[in-house]
């Protein structure tokens, strides 16, 4: 991603093209998922929700939070420390929380159709919910006012502490459920089974591509917004300092 600090224009040609590609691919995904692809033998029509559910989950957990963790590490490492990584971490986490929220929402609807309940203490659901609140906490920390360096360092440390928790939550929840009941729920992996394959696999693949494009596009804009907010805060500070200085000169 290139940033051009001197320009305050809202979008470049690249992001515009990316934006249109995103819209087209999302629309195609919806058409494929709702009209063209067949109903699943076991799941019936509820499988159509998984074409949204799986991509959002995948992008939130692996891509968004992965980028947040990586950017936080790069921020803390002295040789690569820069505001760029801090803002990247924040933007990515926000999009990740949004996507994970959607994952939970669609998952709940799918659960309502399949199991008859909105929520169940299935291992994956529980892990996802814990992850969701972990990163909401991270975003809350980012919102607490402090001097820029303090805020960035604090946020980076919270991001890494949250990331360390992810495997532990995963194992804890996994054992909890398997010790108590059989996890006989359907696995998403079945979709990628070549025997099922065909249209369904392609639809899922298209969904992942569409949401990856969406992630990139949102990142470009969200990062830019964070950068502008940052500049504006600096500017306000500079104005305040200049005013104090002017007062001092007058008196």
């Amino acid at each position: 991603m290139t940033i051009s600090p001197s320009s305050a224009s809202t979008s470049s040609r690249t992001t515009t093209i990316l934006g249109w590609l995103t819209v087209v691919s999302l629309a195609l995904t919806a058409v494929m998922a709702l009209v063209i692809s067949p109903a699943d033998v076991n799941m019936g029509d509820s499988v159509r929700l998984l074409y949204l559910h799986v991509p959002t989950a995948w992008l939130a957990m692996y891509v968004s939070f992965g980028v947040t963790t990586l950017a936080s590490v790069l921020y803390l490492w002295k040789r690569t420390r820069s505001r760029f990584w801090d803002l990247t971490a924040g933007a990515s986490a926000e999009i990740g929380v949004l996507f994970l929220g959607l994952t939970l929402l669609i998952g709940a609807i799918w659960g309502r159709i399949t199991w008859g309940v909105w929520w169940t203490w299935d291992a994956r659901l529980t892990t996802t919910a814990v992850l969701f609140v972990l990163y909401i906490g991270y975003l809350a920390v980012r919102k607490v006012p402090a001097s820029p360096e303090v805020q960035s360092r604090r946020a980076a440390i919270v991001a890494i502490a949250a990331f360390l928790d992810v495997p532990i939550v995963h194992f804890a929840v996994e054992w909890w459920r398997t010790l108590h009941q059989d996890a006989t729920f359907l696995s998403d992996r079945r979709l990628l089974d070549p025997q099922i394959g065909g249209t369904m696999a392609w639809t899922l693949f298209l969904g992942v591509v569409a949401f990856t494009l969406l992630y990139c596009w949102l990142m470009a804009h969200r990062f830019r917004l964070a950068w502008l907010e940052d500049r504006l805060a600096d500017r306000a500070m500079q104005v305040a300092i200049d005013e104090r200085r002017a007062e001092a000169v007058q008196s």
């Binding site: 320009s7 929700l49 959607l102 669609i106 309502r112 502008l228 907010e229 504006l232």
Partner: protein
């Protein structure tokens, strides 16, 4: 299609939330860059 109500509600709310978020980011970005522009000269 069985459960069409649930499925359409899922798709509709997902796209609505995504569009709402994108609109919020872009509008806020525009208004902030307008604030910054006079002094940046860009």
């Amino acid at each position: 299609m069985n459960d069409a109500g649930y499925i359409f509600a899922g798709y509709f709310s997902t796209f609505a939330i995504l569009a709402g978020y994108a609109a919020w980011v872009i509008r806020r970005k525009r208004s902030l860059s307008r604030l910054l522009r006079p002094e940046d000269g860009a």
